[in-house]
Subunit: 131 residues, 6 copies
């Protein structure tokens, strides 16, 4: 089993090609990112993730740009550089600016610092937060 290999459109199974076609059409790009070429080895997982991603990331109570900033911040906090780089690009396409990304990444560090204090000091949840 090999995991570094990217599966290009021509060699991808039909179910994966259908997802690639849909991504290219909806994002208006000539080719899909490496993430999708790697997932093409498991077309059903790839299809379900693409469908779920569209449903969750579509504009709703939160706009598309804010949703990408949240996805990006979680990916940074979780240590995934690929995810961070690809969603920073998506955030940019959806209107996020450089100064916004710079603020976002500093908030990630602040939150992780704050989380550490909560773990160390271990205070109980305030009653007012439970009502």
């Amino acid at each position: 089993m090999s995991y570094g290999k990217l599966i290009e459109y021509a060699e991808a199974p039909p179910e994966a090609q259908a997802v690639m076609d849909d991504i290219k059409a909806k994002r208006g790009v000539p080719d899909v990112n490496n993430a999708w070429k790697a997932m093409a080895r498991h077309p059903a997982v790839m299809r379900r993730f693409w469908e779920r991603a569209q449903a969750v990331m579509q504009p709703g109570a939160l706009d598309a740009r804010t949703k990408e900033l949240i996805y990006l911040a979680v990916s940074v906090a979780n240590g995934c550089h690929y995810c961070s780089a690809s969603h920073a690009a998506l955030a940019g396409k959806k209107g996020a600016t450089e100064p916004e990304l710079a603020e976002m990444v500093e908030i990630v560090g602040l939150a992780l610092e704050g989380n550490s204090y909560a773990t160390f000091y271990g205070q109980p949840v305030d009653d007012a937060l439970k009502e």
Copy 2:
């Protein structure tokens, strides 16, 4: 050394009382959250975190509500319930709505799922993302 104990204002050292006074004044609350009462055992750390939190979370390129949603999403992804509960309350005070929080938490799960695929399939970063 004991970590469950909350230090109330009356018993807190002066440096911690000064931070508590500032928090109560700026947030317009009668008392500070348990997180601050627990941190009061280490007043210098408490003061630095409070000052840094204000600097990072103040409205800038991103508005205060969006910043809280990002802080909250990172705390959820990082498994800190206290942080999640307290910043959900702050997000609400800064204008976040229930439907927005519901979308936020679902994005966290989607991002962690996507991060897992990136770790498993291990695709290299696209050249286009490096330019």
Copy 3:
């Protein structure tokens, strides 16, 4: 101190060579993975980890294939691509199939999503789960 360097058998200290010999003999491979060549700088740590890995991963109540799937899932959830790639290969040698790996990685994403909801909503553990 340098960490990228791989220590080949010929240049490895005797204690590390002994571990490499044992790995090659027990796995029936001509050479050890890079993970072991990197750990060879600290032979005692390398030896202890190899001995512990054998003890924990040997067939017991759980068979070797299931144990590798668990090790692999944890590595994916924890963001370690090297660990994921090397244990996916080991899982394959122990009988795991492509469809099984595809299901495993989707479960990792589902679990991380579910964990996020537990952190956000913060429900107490059910009494029935404590009895």
Copy 4:
């Protein structure tokens, strides 16, 4: 906004009651776990997670018991005690035994230890793992 509160069936919105009814019927239990009562504040998220959980966890290439062991191991590695306790119970219902759970948790610790060495030593992925 309050997060500790559990929403019982009688007070849950219709969409959440429908999910609770389905969980009770399919699991053959008189009531749902606290996790679902907490999620009931966001019925659409609750419904989507329940539907996705059923699809991913149903027997496929991997049997239901193995899938639960994987979900459980990820939850333990990710630090979610609620998730660990609830899925240990589910694993038991699906046939996992105490000795299997004891082996599972020890594998989690071994994997996290191994992941740490990979992060520290930073060896590149072996070519043989990329082919």
Copy 5:
């Protein structure tokens, strides 16, 4: 299967009692912490962890106090409050002071912030760090 339950000495299986006796004798305490009472349901895992913990944490190139500070910092970064609280107490017994713990927890937050920048900016490892 129930996980909240603590197994007291009198009801513990002989293999677990032997570990409890050893912990009480070596630490000079009248009873073991809850962590050990919970692990007593799986005596073999409990014994192996106790033996490994003693081997890894004994004074070596690093003294016992420094080792506890490292164990503690990792537990804080990893979000484990029980581990943090119990190892803060052990660190104190081994000579760590309040000001040292205050500095330790602030370093954890700084490191997690720095890690976030490395994930976001994704710089390659410097050649000088590989030599």
Copy 6:
């Protein structure tokens, strides 16, 4: 937006050059690490992190070497290889030895294993740890 790119001194904005000058002067190095060249795209974040890092990492109750070992251990536990490699080098400059680093990394693995047991068994915090 591109994240792989390193910004060399000559092309860096003045605020970033000032930080680079300060790092080179205080560390006595001819050039800064890639981490700083990547952060130079966001000079204000870079400056704040450099100032905070100096304040937190300066000798205090804990000496500089111990502080680096803690930062390093957290980075290893958190899966950041770049951070681990760069702080292992800093630890070495501040007096940490190879045997000390070998013990540090084994403690990280032990702590993560111990944290897993705490998550799985879920024992409550001992009263003695709360007093």
